[in-house]
């Protein structure tokens, strides 16, 4: 029952990520993958955090492209992962970030602006969002 639940209950992407995580932690690979990844993460965090000595926010698009049609990347997990490339570093560094609606593309699809701030600057980020976007949430 346990196996069947996990086999049908988890989608392909979830299974993929579970397997990747298990592999990275498994005996013999922990140092090469997990430990090294944590070290890289610390470097990344230190570097990004140091930029907040000079700047209040770091700004970038929320996604590298406007929204793509449903199903157009499902068969290509890697290109799917790359759509997260602007936002994953908030998870990696643990720093607060916010996505603010910021106009439309040539074909009318919405575009987002991401702002990242120093640790615990959440209130500042919300203030920035209000200043750029106005008080009301967009429809």
């Amino acid at each position: 029952m346990y196996e069947r639940t996990r086999m049908t209950g988890f989608g392909d992407e979830v299974k993929r990520r579970i397997l990747i995580g298990t592999y990275a932690l498994s005996s013999g690979y922990y140092d090469a993958y997990y430990k090294k990844a944590q070290a890289v993460r610390k470097l990344l965090r230190d570097e990004v955090e140091s930029s907040f000595k000079r700047y209040d926010f770091l700004v970038s698009p929320t996604a590298p492209t406007p929204a793509f049609p449903l199903g157009s990347k499902t068969d290509d997990p890697l290109s799917m992962y790359l759509t997260d490339v602007c936002t994953t570093y908030a998870n990696l560094t643990g720093l607060p970030a916010i996505s603010i609606p910021f106009g439309r593309s040539a074909t009318g699809l919405p575009i987002g602006m991401q702002a990242t701030g120093a640790s615990f600057s959440d209130t500042l980020l919300i203030g920035l969002a209000k200043a750029i976007h106005g008080e009301e949430a967009s429809g």
Binding site: Y2, T22, L25, S26, S27, Y30, Y34
Partner: protein, 484 residues
Amino acid sequence: MNYEVIIGCEVHIQLSTESKAFCSCANLFGGEPNTRVCPVCTGLPGSLPVVNRALIDGAILAGLALNCTVAEVTKFDRKNYIYPDLPKGYQISQFDMPICTDGHLEVETDDGETRRIGIIRLHMEEDTGKNIHADDGRDLSFVDFNRSGTPLLEVVSAPDIRSPQEAVRYVQSIREIVRYLGISDCNMEEASLRCDANINLWVHEEGETYATPIVEVKNMNSFRSIRNALQYEVKRQLSEWKAHRRTLEAEGKSTRGYVDAKGITVLQRSKEESADYRYFPEPDLKPIAIPREYVESLRKRVGELPAEKRLRFLETYHIPERDAFQLAVSPALADYFEATVAEYANPRRAANWLLSEVLKYMNATGTTVPALRVEPDALRELLLAVDAGEVSGKTAKEVFVEMAETGERAGAIIERRGLKQISNESELEEIVKRIIAENESSADDFRAGKSRALKFLMGQVMKATRGKANPQLADRILRDHLRA
């Protein structure tokens, strides 16, 4: 050919904290299934653990009592495996930075010597839920999560234990210490004390030494089981060795479960099937820094442990070993004893009284030492009265009960009820002389060799004094005067 038995023990202790290790569910035994659960201990998505400080305190206390070094920084790790009673798919445990390390415990060997058993580590973790298999023939199992998240301490010994009986004594010592600290009930029946053992043999043959494969023995649920399971393993490994000569190097470690009904162990897991737990630091719990002042403040709570106290009682008060054992078991009783004998020259009598009359009263009425209405100095007063011959031992027992019921002092009760024995020699002499004079025939009978006559005469003395004559004194005076 001869051999040595090499044993290491892993003991799991369920702490009797108010709430579970990482959530505020009540930490109690039994109850309707799945009534003491919450999103945290059932591993629901989005739930987050919070450390229960009592778990940390319990670990430090136990570690100090076992002579361990308490870490300056400790952290939790995830131990990953899939099993129905493990709701998160991992157990929050400790891997490479356990809270306590490098301890030891002295245990009696089979020859009556003392052996120091090393304690490699003591760490904190949470318990799993409980699988319950349908007992009505249906192929169904149920999971009760009441136990999930209960705080556990795991104590891992070095492979210093040298016999099954010694292993039992080791576990018993741990149990005594943990119960003394008041942090666990340590009951094998309720599974608040669990034990697995790793055992193999070192076989010495013609100048060479060979190690047999290590076996982890599980499912030993009583002290008797521990002894039987390990004794069986020694025999089994010995005959295995004689038949196949497989060594530890070649074969590694396997897991066997003890089957109490048959007195044997059966293979559960071989080396190839051992799990990869993929330990990594628990990201939801920050590492914990333990200041030295905090450790010292807890060290005061450890106090003197039972083994030390027993030794001190034997050496200082010269009471019988059995009494020392019994007194040292309960901190409250031990303290009461010491307060009584602080200004009393007969510790043996005090110990005897505490362990017979006082304990009898407490058990009969369900009174605890703190609730006892007889203070140590009041007991001392009573004992001194007995020593001085003011009351007989028998009367004193009644007086004690009255003291316990009313809180009245011994002197007052003796006075009020006129219980004072006649221990005045000249007073008794007068009475004895008179009795002898009034019963010349009996006196002659005694002088002629009829010892029963003495009893009659003593009875007369007692009658004349309304039972108050000090029996020993009266006896001596009677005999003296009959001889004359």
